[in-house]
Chain length 150, copies 2
């Protein structure tokens, strides 16, 4: 099942790639039902808050009529930034499955600290590595096309 969901997240990432966005896709799942899916629209919408994860959380909250996404898991093609990791944690999502690790060691450490149990919320698990080479290819293709445009 995890593979099926990550493949759908990659499909979302590909939609971002096609419109010239950093190719990141996200999918929120609860009880083996897809609750929401989204892709990065930072440039299109013109706001740093339009990462795939944030859009997916907002869609899921609307659908479930609750900011608490208890029992939900999120599939992301790339390890989240601190903004998204904190939004995921605050929305009570229990598990993050991500494809590709972030290459920035500093990002990894901050994200780990964010996901730990704190005064308000329990911990959130993170597992990386699903289809990472496929996702890396897509990322490389994107950054190559950016360089070629310049």
């Amino acid at each position: 099942m995890k593979e099926k969901y990550m493949k759908l997240a990659i499909k979302e990432a590909t939609k971002a790639y096609k419109i010239g966005e950093v190719p990141v896709g996200a999918l929120i799942v609860k009880d083996d039902q897809i609750i929401s899916k989204a892709y990065n629209k930072k440039e299109k919408i013109g706001s740093v808050t339009r990462h795939a994860e944030i859009i997916a959380i907002e869609k899921a909250s609307k659908k479930l009529n609750n900011w608490r996404l208890d029992g939900c898991d999120i599939y992301i093609t790339l390890e989240p930034c601190p903004m998204c990791a904190s939004a995921i944690k605050q929305s009570r999502i229990a598990n993050i499955y991500c494809g590709l690790n972030n290459s920035d060691e500093n990002n990894i450490n901050i994200v780990k600290s964010i996901l730990k149990k704190d005064k308000i919320n329990g911990s959130c698990n993170i597992n990386c590595g699903l289809f990472s080479s496929e996702i890396e290819e897509l990322m490389k293709k994107f950054f190559l096309s950016c360089r070629n445009k310049k």
Copy 2:
């Protein structure tokens, strides 16, 4: 000027208080012009992403037609959570002026790490303490009313 802007942020926080939200307000300023203002709508909208800072960033990006908020400062009544701190940093806001410190030591350390210079963005300054006792009063009043409701 800083006092004037923080007073306006407190006015926003009071709007949140009046509709039963955790009273947090935010104001984005550039070249002594108010670009956007917002207050916390997490419960009203039903999404963890509806913090005052995120709404203010989105409004400012729309107004300036750019996700890069270069030259902007943000005034917040409360020290930001990691989600908001990261959104502020990624949007290239240079200075954060906040009223009340977050009482959670763990939050403070994570926010400090987020705001440091990294591979992509420069550092973002943070200054806390403006009207902190006034803001603390508002926060206490809010949490007292929550307890009374229960």
